[in-house]
């Protein structure tokens, strides 16, 4: 068997075995179905919210949860094997560093991808039956696609973390910091820039800054596709920019590949 496939298969089976797959799928489906039906309860209404409100609230919640799940799933992928001695053993097998990395990425990436498709897809199906598929499908496809890309990006981040440290606990701590940075700190700094310095950042400049954060990109793409009336905050400014969805998606794809390349560089220099 091709070594990449062998590793991918093993990682995928591990994900099924330790209930990661089923948990992630459940979380995603409960989240999306819940928001689709009861999302407006917070604003005092009991009617089902509009599709754009649903997607807007889903993306603001997913941006917290997807990166966290990806980091939790993968932070010990290398450092764990290093601690148990199997990484050393694997490297004496006819498998290169690149093949091992790619195999793990494929295996764990498939877990996240499949869970995203099934979890959010279930909500899309339910909504589709209740309203019309013509409206639901395009909105949800974009949302699911970007969720997958966001998940894969943070899988790559987790690999970089896992390869840079030599203890599991450090990898866990570092993962939390990375999560905090991209999900909270980055936005706070942007907001501070926007408000604190008058005319410091133009709208165009703001969008460009957001390219440096895959989580912001994720929100940007999803919210830009909606009626802007449902969007507020920093993003409302950015959403009105002229970037096309395709070019933003390409930047997200670059965010998937870049951490993998970084992980590869670290891996090939690592002494075990």
């Amino acid at each position: 068997m091709n070594p990449i496939l062998a590793v991918a298969l093993k990682e995928f089976q591990d994900g099924l075995r330790n209930r990661w797959f089923i948990s992630i799928t459940l979380i995603f489906s409960v989240l999306s179905i819940g928001l689709s039906y009861y999302g407006s309860a917070a604003s005092g209404q009991i009617t089902a919210p509009s599709l754009s409100t649903t997607i807007a609230s889903l993306s603001s919640l997913s941006v917290f949860i997807i990166p966290l799940i990806a980091l939790l799933l993968c932070y010990d992928s290398f450092v764990g094997e290093q601690e148990s001695g199997t990484l050393l053993l694997l490297l004496t097998y006819p498998i290169s560093h690149g093949q091992l990395l790619l195999g793990k990425f494929l295996g764990m990436g498939s877990i996240i991808t499949l869970a995203t498709v099934l979890g959010f897809g279930s909500a899309a199906l339910l909504l589709g039956f209740n309203s019309s598929f013509a409206a639901v499908l395009p909105a949800f496809s974009l949302f699911i696609l970007t969720s997958i890309l966001l998940g894969l990006t943070f899988v790559g981040f987790a690999f970089v973390i896992s390869l840079s440290v030599s203890e599991k606990s450090k990898a866990a701590g570092l993962s939390l910091i990375v999560w905090l940075f991209f999900i909270l700190v980055f936005d706070l700094v942007l907001l501070a820039l926007l408000i604190g310095i008058e005319n410091g950042v133009s709208q165009q400049g703001l969008v460009q800054l957001m390219m440096f954060n895959p989580a912001d990109l994720f929100r940007l793409i999803n919210l830009a596709a909606l009626d802007t009336g449902d969007v507020n905050g920093v993003l409302a400014v950015a959403v009105n920019s002229s970037h096309s969805a395709v070019s933003l998606l390409l930047v997200m794809l670059a965010w998937v590949i870049a951490p993998l390349l970084a992980a590869m560089t670290i891996f090939s220099r690592k002494t075990i």
């Binding site: 068997m1 070594p3 062998a6 590793v7 298969l9 093993k10 591990d14 075995r17 330790n18 148990s84 001695g85 199997t86 050393l88 053993l89 694997l90 490297l91 004496t92 097998y93 006819p94 498998i95 290169s96 002494t271 075990i272």
Partner: protein, 306 residues
């Protein structure tokens, strides 16, 4: 004509300022079993990693199956190498069969070998249990089964008998003999010495990254000029009175005699009428090991004083 499997020439390996290995020369032929001995940190594992192609030499040459193990071309020969690392704990969630299936896939080893190997190492009953329920000895056996996957022509075993009970140790050594007779070369790395003697062709003793001695056991024994220990019973006080024998006495019934004079002394001892028992023991591997390590240490100490 036998084929050279592993060749090390003037190999040096430094980690930052630590000299892990210095000027190591080694040639391992097909079908040869080498015992690699030394304290913790003497460089045994580093040497294995060099041969396995996990780390790069700082100076010198390593060649395995005629190729640099870090070379891309050496990729194919990795299938012919089996390695048992020290302290490997494998994947706790997987069963024994699943662990071996994974490694067999990576090594492109035939599937039917998995059941065979699990039986061979005595894990047939536990093969469907998760590895986390295994005892230390069982994990070690799983590690051995993993190293025997495929058709290895070179085996590097780091502390293979740690945690094994005596009968499992015996079985392990018989598989070593079997692999040896099928033409595989084996490097056994250990600091547990008893029992290994009959199964190795040559021994290499490492001390602080240097090769303290290398050769067949009998050659090492000769070169070390280690005395033969003779214990007698029944003569007691009479030994003291014999001028020639008294020179070798270390205790009232214990003599340490040079190898060359062994037979002559025994003959003399047999002349005592009241001798009831005699024990003759040649220097064991352990004595040889101690001797060379002590030797090396004193020469290092002298060197540092100068």
């Amino acid at each position: 004509m036998s084929e050279t499997i592993v060749l090390l020439e003037q190999v040096n390996k430094h980690y930052q300022k630590i000299k892990a290995l210095q000027n190591i020369d080694l040639r391992l032929e097909a079908g040869e079993v080498l015992g690699l001995f030394g304290h913790n940190g003497a460089g045994k594992t580093t040497m294995m990693k060099l041969i396995l192609g996990i780390i790069k030499v700082s100076a010198g040459n390593v060649s395995v199956f005629g190729l640099d193990p870090l070379d891309k071309q050496a990729w194919a020969s990795r299938k012919k190498i089996g390695y048992l690392p020290e302290n490997v704990s494998f994947y706790d969630q997987l069963s024994g069969t699943e662990v071996l299936t994974y490694f067999a896939r990576l090594k492109s080893a035939p599937k039917n070998q998995i059941v065979e190997l699990l039986e061979k190492v005595g894990l047939a009953d536990a093969k469907d249990r998760a590895v986390k329920t295994y005892s230390k000895g069982m994990r070690q056996r799983l590690g051995l089964a993993q190293a025997f996957l495929g058709d290895p022509k070179l085996l590097l075993l780091d502390e293979p008998t740690v945690g094994l009970d005596p009968s499992a140790t015996q079985e392990f050594y018989s598989s070593v003999d079997q692999l040896k007779s099928s033409g595989a070369s084996i490097i056994l790395c250990s600091h547990v010495l008893p029992g290994v003697e009959q199964h190795i062709d040559r021994a290499m003793i490492l001390s602080a990254g240097k090769s303290a001695a290398i050769g067949t056991l009998s050659a090492l024994r000769d070169a070390a000029r280690l005395p033969v220990s003779i214990k007698t019973q029944g003569i007691n006080g009479a030994l003291k009175n014999n001028e020639q024998l008294a020179g070798f006495m270390v205790a009232h019934n214990h003599l340490l005699v040079p190898e060359s004079q062994k037979v002559q002394i025994i003959r003399q001892l047999m002349e005592f009428e009241n001798i009831s028992d005699i024990q003759v023991e040649a220097a064991s591997l352990e004595h040889i090991y101690q001797h060379y390590l002590a030797d090396n240490k004193s020469s290092i100490e002298q060197g540092s004083k100068l």
